[in-house]
Amino acid sequence: MNMNADNPAPGKEPLVRPGTLKAMMAVLFAVLAALLLAEGWAHRHVIFPWEEWYGFYAAFGFVAYVVLVFVAQYVLRPIVMRDEDYYDR
C-alpha cells in the first residue's frame, strides 16, 4: 500500500464512496436481526431472572449507550468543561 498517497479523488476510496455507508448499515441491521433470532434458538444459562426477558441485553446496550452519551453531554459537560488554557491562566 502506498503510505504517502495524496488524498485520492472522492469516489476512489472505498470508505467514502456513497454506497459504503448504506451497505455497512445494511450489514449491521442483518447481524442485529440474526442475534435477536439466535436468542430464541440458543440454550441460555442465566442467573438473574431478567436475563431471560427476550432482547434484554440488546435493549440494555442501546439504552445504556444513549443515556451515557446524553448525560455526559447535557449534564457533565456544562459543569466541567473549560477553555483549553484554563490551568495556564
Binding site: 504517502n4 470508505l15 447481524v31 440494555f60 451515557l68 453531554q73 459537560r77 473549560r82
Partner: protein, 594 residues
Amino acid sequence: MIASAWPPGLILILAALPAALLRGLPRRAWMLLVPVLSLLNMLSLPEGNQFLVPFFRQELVLARVDRLSVVFGIIFHIIAFIANLYALQVEDRFQNAAGLVYAGAAVGAVFAGDLFTLFVFWEMMTLSATFLIMARRTEKAMAAGFRYFMVHVVSGLCLLGGILLQVQATGTVAFGHIGLGGGLSSWLIFIGFGVNSAWPLLHFWLPDAYPESTVTGAVFLSAFTTKTAVYVLARAFPGTEALIWIGAAMTVFPIFFAVIENNLRRVLSYSLINQVGFMMVGIGIGTELSLNGTVSHAFSHILYKALLFMSMGAVLHQTGKINATDVGGLYRSMPWTCTFCIVGAASISAFPLFSGFVSKSMVMEAAALGDLRLVWFMMLFASAGVLHHAGIKIPFCAFFSHDSGIRCKEAPLPMLLAMGLAAALCIGIGVYPQPLYSLLPYPTDFQPYTAGHVISQAQLLLFAALAFALMLLSGTHPPEIRAINLDVDVLTRKGGRAFYRFADSTLNALNDWADEVFSRRLTRGLAQFFRMPVCNLQRLGFRALALLYGNHEWMKQKMSVSEARCETGAHPVGDGVLRAVLLLTVLTILVLLW
C-alpha cells in the same frame, strides 16, 4: 535458594545502567534481550520463599514465588518486552533506563514477601515513573510529572506509616493477608494501595499525568503502577467488601469523562480507571472465581491497554497531534496502526474472540453468583460505556471521522511489530484462553464460550453500536470540542494556587511584620543599648526610681553626673576595688608558679 538465579526484578533494574550507556545497535539488542533473560530467570525459581535476607532481627523475602506472583511476573515481563520493542528507536538515556527500572521495580514489588522490600520497590516505581513523564521535556509534562511525584510521595508516606504501625503491632514484616480489621495501620496501607489503584477521588493523578508522558512512557505507565496495586490488594485485602463498591464506582464514573474528553490519550486514561474497577470488584468479592477474574482481567487488560496506548502514541509520534478535533481520517496514512488499534478496541470492549471477553465475564459471573444486583448492573452499564469511549471513539476519531487532511508516514517498524505482537496476544487469548486460565491462582473450568453468553455480549455491544450509528447519522451525537474538563485535581491545582495567594496575603504580611519588629526595630534598639550598656542600665534605673519617688532635683543631678561619666568612660574607683584587684593578681601569679 538457587545459586545461579537472581532475585526477580533485579536483572531489569541493573540492566538500566548499560541501557543508559550503550548506543545504537548494541543498545537495541540489550533492550530486547534483558526482559527475556529476566523472564527465564524468574521462571527458573521454584515455589516458596527465596532470597531471604536477615534485617534487624527480621527476615526480608526478595522472592515469594507462588501462583499469584508468578502470573503477574509473567505478564509484566511480556509487556516490558513489548514496550521496549515499541521504544526501540528512542535514543534517550533517561527513558531507556527509567523504563527498565520501572518494570524491574514492578516485578520486584510483586515478588516481595515482606513489607519493607515492597515499600522500597514501590518508591522506586514512583521515581522511575516520574522520569518517564518528565522525559517528554515539555512544560506541561514537567508540571504533570511534579504533581504525579507529589501525589505518590504522599501516598507512599501513608503506606510507610501503615507499614510501621503494622510491624509494631504484629511484630513481623511479612507481607500477607492484612484485611481491614487491624485498625489504623491496615487503613493506612489500604489507602496507600488505593491511591495507586486510582480509586474515585484519588484517581486524578492518572488522567493528569499519563497523557503528558512520552509516547513510549505511556505504554510502560499503563501497565505497571495500577496493576501492581491490583496485585497487592488481591494479596492483602481479598474479600474486603468496600472494594466491591469502590470498584463499581470506578467502572462507571470515568466513562462519562471519557465521552467528553478531547485528548485521546486522556480518554484511554479514564478507560484505564474503568477497567481497574472491574478488577477491584473481583478482589472485593473474594471468591476463587472472582479473584481468577481479577487476575485474568489484569493480564488481558495490560495487553490491550498497552496496545491502545501504543496506537495512540504512534498517532502522536507521526502527526504531533492527539486531540480528537485535530486528527481524523488517518486510516489512509496509517492502515496498520489503525488495524491494531481496532483489535485493541475490540479486546477492551470484550467482543467474543478477543481477550477482554474471556476475562471480564469471570468478574461479571462472580458478581451475579454473589447476587450483587446493583453492582452487576453498574458493571453491565460500564461494559456498554467501554464500547463508546474505547471501542468506538478511539479508533473512530483517530482514523475515520472527519478527514483532518493529515497525510503522514505509517509508524516505524519497531512500533508496528510491538503493536502486532500485542494484537496477536489479544486475539490469541480471546480465541484460546486455556493457557491463561492455567496460570490463574485457582484451578478453573470456566467456560466463556457458551452460546448464550456469546449472544448476550454481542447483543449488548452491537445494539450499543447501533445507538452510536443512529446518533451519528441523525446529528445528535455530541461533537468533539476543543476544551478541557475539570476533574478532582481542580481542587489541588486551583486550590494550590488559592492556598498560595492565601499564604501570600497572610503569611507574607506576618513575615513583613516580624521582619520590621525583630530584624529592624529590635536589633536597632539592642545595638543602641549595648553601645553603652552600663550607662543605659543606670539610665533605666534612674527612670524607674523617678517613676517611684517622683522626679526630684537631686536625682536629676545624679543623672547628669552619671551621664557625663558614661560618655567620658571615667567612673571613680574606690581603693577597696584596687586592693581586691591587687590581691587577685597576686593569687593568680602564685597559682601559676605553683
